[in-house]
Subunit: 387 residues, 4 copies
C-alpha cells in the first residue's frame, strides 16, 4: 500500500515551507490595494539583493518558460547572431526560440553530461565577432550539470555581447553576481531554490537590455510577453499591465524573504554540503554520478546514472510507494530520459536529513530490484562528507 508522499525531492517543483504555504493560502490581496503594491515592490527589492544587482527586477506572471521565451520575443531582431551554449535540453531548446524569433544561433555544444569549457566558448566568440548576444544556461537540471557562469559571462562581456542567462533552477544555490559579472538578463524560477509554487519567474534587466528591448524594430508592447510593459507601465507609472497572480506573488515574497533571512552564504554552504554528501553517498553505494566530473555537478539535484538493466520508473515508483520519497527521472521526451534519476535538494528539501532518507530509500529499492548496492557504505560516506 502506498504511503503518503512526504518527501517531494524532485527536480522542482518541490515541497513548500510552512511560511510559503501560509502566504499562499491567505485571503486574496486585491491587486490595486496599497498592501499588494507594497508587497510587489518589496519582492522586487528582495530580488535585487538576491541577484546582487541594482538593475530593474521584472516578475513575469508565468513559469520560467514564459520569461525565457519573452527574452527572445522582446530582445531579438531578424538576423541577429546569438552564440548559444548547449550542454543539455534547455540550451538546445533555447535555440528553437532564437530561430523562431528571427535570430541565427551559433551553437556551442557539449555532450549532455558535461559543461562547456571557457576555451571552447572563447573560440566561438572569436570566430563570430558579429554576435550581439551570448545565451547561457547556468544549470542544466535534467542533466544535473552546472557551468562556470562567472567565467563564461565575462567572456561574453569581453567580446561585446549582451549576456542573457537562464539560471532558472540554480540561482540561490550558488553565486549569481549580476552587476559584478555584467549579466544583462538573468531569469530565476519561483519553484526551484526559492521553494515557492510554480507560476512566476523573476528576471534582472540591465540598462543595456532595456535599451535593446526598446530599439529592436518592433518593440514588443501590450502583450503578455512584453517585458517592456513592466518597465513602462508598472515600474514607471504604477499600473498593472494585467492582473498579477496575487496569491503566487505573496508566496514568492515569503520565499525570497525566508531565503534572505537565512542568507546567501549559509545557503551556498548548505547546497554545497548536501550536494557533496549525496554524491559521495551515491558513489560509495556503488552507483555512478551522471556528470563527468565532480566540478561539473550542480548541487540542486544529484543526477544518478542508472546501472545497466535498471528501470528508472520502477525505481522511482518503489521509492515513492514504500518510502514516500518522490524523486525525478530526467526530463520526459529528451534523449537521456531513462538513463538517470535525480534526487532534488531545492528549497526545504536542501537538508542532509532529506538526502540521507533518499539514499536509504534508493538503496533499498535497488536491492529489491535485484541490483546489489551497499547502502550502509553509502550512508557512512554521506555522513563523512557533512560539514
Amino acid at each position: 500500500m502506498a504511503r503518503s508522499t512526504d518527501f517531494i525531492m524532485t527536480g522542482g517543483p518541490v515541497e513548500l515551507s510552512d511560511r510559503v504555504r501560509g502566504a499562499l493560502g491567505g485571503q486574496l490581496i486585491f491587486d490595486y490595494s496599497e498592501e499588494f503594491m507594497t508587497l510587489f515592490r518589496d519582492t522586487q527589492e528582495k530580488f535585487k539583493t538576491f541577484f546582487r544587482t541594482d538593475n530593474d527586477i521584472v516578475m513575469m506572471q508565468g513559469e520560467a518558460l514564459l520569461a525565457l521565451e519573452a527574452v527572445s520575443v522582446c530582445g531579438l531582431d531578424e538576423g541577429d547572431v546569438v552564440v548559444n551554449v548547449e550542454s543539455g535540453h534547455y540550451g538546445e531548446g533555447n535555440r528553437y526560440f532564437l530561430e523562431k524569433y528571427g535570430a541565427t544561433a551559433i551553437p556551442v555544444e557539449t555532450p549532455w553530461n558535461t559543461v562547456v569549457q571557457p576555451e571552447q566558448l572563447e573560440a566561438v566568440l572569436k570566430t563570430h565577432p558579429e554576435a550581439k548576444i551570448l545565451w547561457l544556461v547556468h544549470c542544466e537540471t535534467p542533466c544535473g550539470t552546472q557551468s562556470d557562469l562567472a567565467t563564461l559571462a565575462r567572456l561574453g562581456k569581453e567580446h561585446g555581447c549582451l549576456v542573457f542567462v537562464d539560471s532558472v533552477s540554480c540561482a540561490g544555490s550558488t553565486e549569481v553576481r549580476v552587476d559584478e559579472w555584467g549579466i544583462d538578463v538573468v531569469v530565476v524560477g519561483s519553484q526551484k531554490v526559492l521553494g515557492a509554487p510554480p507560476g512566476l519567474s523573476a528576471m534582472a534587466v540591465s540598462d543595456a537590455a532595456w535599451e535593446r528591448f526598446r530599439s529592436v524594430k518592433a518593440p514588443n508592447r501590450y502583450s503578455y510577453f512584453s517585458i517592456l510593459d513592466w518597465k513602462e507601465i508598472w515600474l514607471e507609472k504604477g499600473f498593472w499591465p494585467y492582473t498579477a497572480s496575487v496569491s503566487e506573488v505573496a508566496a514568492l515574497n515569503a520565499a525570497v524573504s525566508e531565503y534572505l533571512e537565512v542568507g546567501h552564504e549559509e545557503h551556498f554552504r548548505r547546497y554545497a554540503e548536501v550536494g557533496r554528501a549525496t554524491r559521495a553517498g551515491v558513489r560509495a553505494m556503488g552507483l555512478g554520478i551522471w556528470p563527468d566530473e565532480e566540478a561539473h555537478a550542480c548541487d540542486v539535484v544529484t543526477a544518478v546514472a542508472m546501472p545497466e538493466g535498471v528501470d528508472d520508473e520502477e525505481l522511482r515508483r518503489r521509492m515513492r510507494d514504500q518510502f514516500g520519497v518522490l524523486i525525478s527521472g530526467s526530463l520526459f521526451n529528451t534523449p537521456i530520459y531513462g538513463k538517470l534519476v535525480r534526487i532534488g535538494h531545492m528549497g526545504k528539501t536542501c537538508s542532509p536529513t532529506y538526502a540521507l532518507a533518499a539514499l536509504s530509500a534508493m538503496g533499498h529499492s535497488l536491492r529489491q530490484m535485484g541490483h546489489p548496492v551497499d547502502v550502509g557504505a553509502g550512508i557512512e560516506a554521506a555522513l563523512a562528507a557533512l560539514d
Copy 2:
C-alpha cells in the same frame, strides 16, 4: 484608523472561499504525479459541464489576457478579416491584438454604457461576407454592461464566422451554452465568478477552432502562447508543455467543483437577484446606474454613475477605511475612469448581505462627502427586490 478589509467587493479578483484557500495553501502536488494529472483532468471535465460543451478544455497558465492574446496569436493569418464588437475597453483592446497579429478588424462600436444590438451586428456581417471570425466580449466589466451572447453568437454562425468569445468575467453568472450556441472559443478567468485567485484561464475549443489553429500558415507550437501545445502534448500524449501552476490549479479545481455543486441554475438565480437588488438600492438611494438600460446591465458588478462633483477615489477610500468594503472604480487609463464605481458581486461576494453592506457603506460615505442620499430608502428597495 483603517479597519481591515473584510469585504473585497471589487470587479475581480475577489474574496476566496475557505475551500479555495484550503486547496491553494495545501502542500505542493508534483506536476508529474498521478494525483496532479488526475486533478487536472478532473478540472477539465468540470469546465465541460461549466460551459455545457463536449469540446476540449484548455487551461492556459496565466491570467485571461494570456488566453485572449493567444487566440489571436494562434488563430489569425495575415489579412484575415475579423468583425470585432466594441462596447467597451476590452472590445477595443482586442482590436489591438487582432491588428498586431495580422488581421484586419472591422469594428462594431457602441458608446461604453450600452451594448451592441443584433441589427447593428447583422448589418456589419452582411457588409463583410469575407469575415472569417466574429469576436465578442460578453461582459464589459469596466462598464458593467453585458451583451446578448446567444443572439450575437448565432448571428456570427449564420454568417459563416468562427465565433470567439471573451466571457472572462461573466461566464457562470449567466448562461454560456457553447455547443448549443456554436461558440468556437470562449475564455473564462479564474478570479471572477469562480472566485479562485488570478493566474489561470480556461477555454473551450471547438474542432473548427483546432482546425483553424493547425491550418494557419505558421501554426504556433512550442510556445507559452501555444494553445495547440496543450492539444498535441498534454491532451494527446500526457506530457506537460511546461510546468503547470499546480497550486493555482488545485485552487481552481476547488472553485469549479464548489460552483457545480451549487449548480448553474442556483448561481444564475443568485446573480440575477443580487444584481437586481443592488441596482434597485442604488436607484432608490438617489443615484444612477451607469448602463443605459436595466437589460444591458451585467450582474457581476453594479456600475454606479458618479454624481457631478463626487470624487470616486475619495468615495472608495472612505468605504474601505471606515467600513472595510473595497469596491472598484472603472479601469485605470480608460476614458470612463472616474465616472463610475463598481460594486462587485462575484464568487463568495455574490450575496445579498454583502450587497446590503456595500449599499450602507456607500450611502454613508457619500453623505459624509456632502452628497445627500437616502440610505434607508436604498436598503428598503434592495430588500424589496430580493426573491
Copy 3:
C-alpha cells in the same frame, strides 16, 4: 437554499481572523521546544498588558468554565463566606460552584435584564463582614448586560474581600484595570473579544490570591484544576504540568498580539461605537433592547427583546439561511431563552459593516414573518450613531 454562513455574529465563539487561523493551522510546535516556551511566555506577557497588571498570568488549558471552576476548587475552604453577585445565568451558576466546593454564598440578586447597583452591593458587604471573597460577573452575555466593574471591585476591596472576577466575554471591549482596581483573579476566554477559538482561558492572579491558594486546608496540586501547579511547576521551574494545547496557544498568541497592536483605546472606541449604533438601529427599527437601560448594556452583544409572538428560532434560521448571518438566542436551558436574540460584535465581527448587515437581515426576516419593522429607519439610525 441555504447560503454559506459568512457572518458568524454569535455570542461567541466568533469568526476567526486570518492571522489567528494562520497560527492555528500551522505545523505543530513541540511543547518542550524553545520556540513554544518562548511563545507561551510571550503570550503571558501580552496578557499582562491586556489586563494592565504586573500579576502572574495563568493560561488554563480549557474553556473558561475550567478556569472559573478552578478558582472555587483552589480558592475555597469549607465554610468560607462569599458574596456572589447574580444578575444572570453566570452569576447564578457560580453559586453552584461556591457551594459545591464548600463555601456559603451570599447572593446579591437582580432581575436578569439589569445589573447590581453599588448601594445594593455595599449593603450586603456591610451585613456580611465575615465575607472573605467577593465574586463578580463583569458581563452577563446571555442577557447582554454589563456591570460597573471598577466601582463594584473597589467596594469589595474596601470591605476586605479578595475580588474574583469573571470577565470571560467582555475584557478587552472595555477597561479591566487589574492593578488599579485591586482585582485578585480575573478570567477571560479565548473565544470572545480576542477572537481565538475556544479551548483556552487566561487569568491574572494577585499575590494575595496565590497566598490564598497555598493556604487553604488542602491546597490543590497535581490536578487539571490546579492553578497552583502553573505557578510552582511552570512559572517557577519551567516544566509543563501536562501537555499544553500548543495549537490553541499559538492561535491565542496571534489573537492577543493582534489586539494589542490595534490597542486598548481603539478597541474600546470600536466596541462603544458598534454597540451604540446597533442598539440605535434596533430601536429605530421599532424593536426593544433587552437591558433596561443603555448604561447597563454591554457592547459585546446587542440583546434584542423578541416582540410578542415572534419565534426567535425561526428568526435566526431565516437570517442564517437567507443572509448567511448567524446570531445567537439567549443561552439554552435558562429562563430567558426565547425572549431575546443576540447580535454578537466580538473579535473580527466588531465592525459597523457587520452590524449593518445584521440589522438589514434581521429586519427583512422579521417582516417575512409578518412582524412590521422599519428597516430603512434602523439603518439610518445606526449610521447616524457612528463616529
Copy 4:
C-alpha cells in the same frame, strides 16, 4: 546554524498531517450549528469503530490528563480498593489520583524497563478480592514499554473488577478491543497515534462504568471534570455542558477519519514494521534498547538506552540543530530522565523513512560526541527488518 525542525519525532505531540492542519485552521464552526453537532457525533461514531465498541464515546475537552483524573473524580468512593499496575511514571502517577480521590491503591509494581506479568497481577487480584477496580496503563511511553492488555484486562474482568485503561499513547498502534476484552473505560489522547494537536481526549464508557459514575455517593455533575454531564446533557439532550473546543474537534475528526480510511490492520502492520526496524537499527548500530525484551517494547516510540557518559540533552540538541530531527528524552522529573532517549513513530511520523532519517542523525551525532557507533550497520539492519 540551526535548521528548521522538519522531523518532529517526539513521544507526542507529533507532526500534523496536511488534512489535520486543514481542518484545524479552517474558519470557526459555531458550536450550536448543525454542522458542528453533526461533526461531533460523527467523531463519536468513528471512535466506536476505533475502539471496536458499542459503548458510549465521551470526548473530554482537554489533554488526556483531564480524562484520566476525571475517571478517578467520577468513579471512586471513599475507601474503594483499586488494583493499580505500575510499570512506569503514568502508573505511579495514577496512584496519586486514586488516593487523592479517596481510594486505597494496591500497587502492582515492576522495574521501569519491563511490564507486569499476568501471574503477578493474578496473584494480587486473588489476594484482594475486595478490589472493585483494576487500573491499567497500556503503554508507558516514557519507558517505551507496552503491556499485554488483552490478558491483563481479562484477568481483571474474571476477578470482578471494573477495568479502567490508560491507552493514551498507543491505542491505534495496536489492538484495543473494548467490547471483546471487557474494558469499562479506556482513554486515548488526540496527539499521539492519531496525530491531532493536543487538547482533547476520547474515552469509551461501558454501561457498568456509567452505572458506577451514577451510583457513587456524590455523583459528579456540572463540572469540567464531569463525565456524566456528557452523558446526561450532551448525549441525552443535545446541549453542550460548556463550549466545546470546536477547532480541535474538527482536527480530531480529520485525524480519526484519516486513521480509519487507512484501517486498523494497515496501521498495526506499519507500527510493527517501523518499531521492529528501528529497534533492529539501534541494536546493529551498537546501542541498547531500554525495554528488557523485544516483546515488552511498544511501537509508538523506540526507547534507546543512553550509553555510559553520553549526555542525552546534547545528543538531542545535535540531532535537532544539524538534522532538524526532534526526538524526546524520557519525561522530565522522573527517575529515568537522562537514561534514555525516545524516537517517536506516531501519526505521520510512523514511516520507515522518518525512522531511517532519525537513525542516521542519531548515529552521526553520537559519533561527533566521541561515542563510536556503526551507522551503516544500523541502516542496513533497519532496512533488512522492513516488510
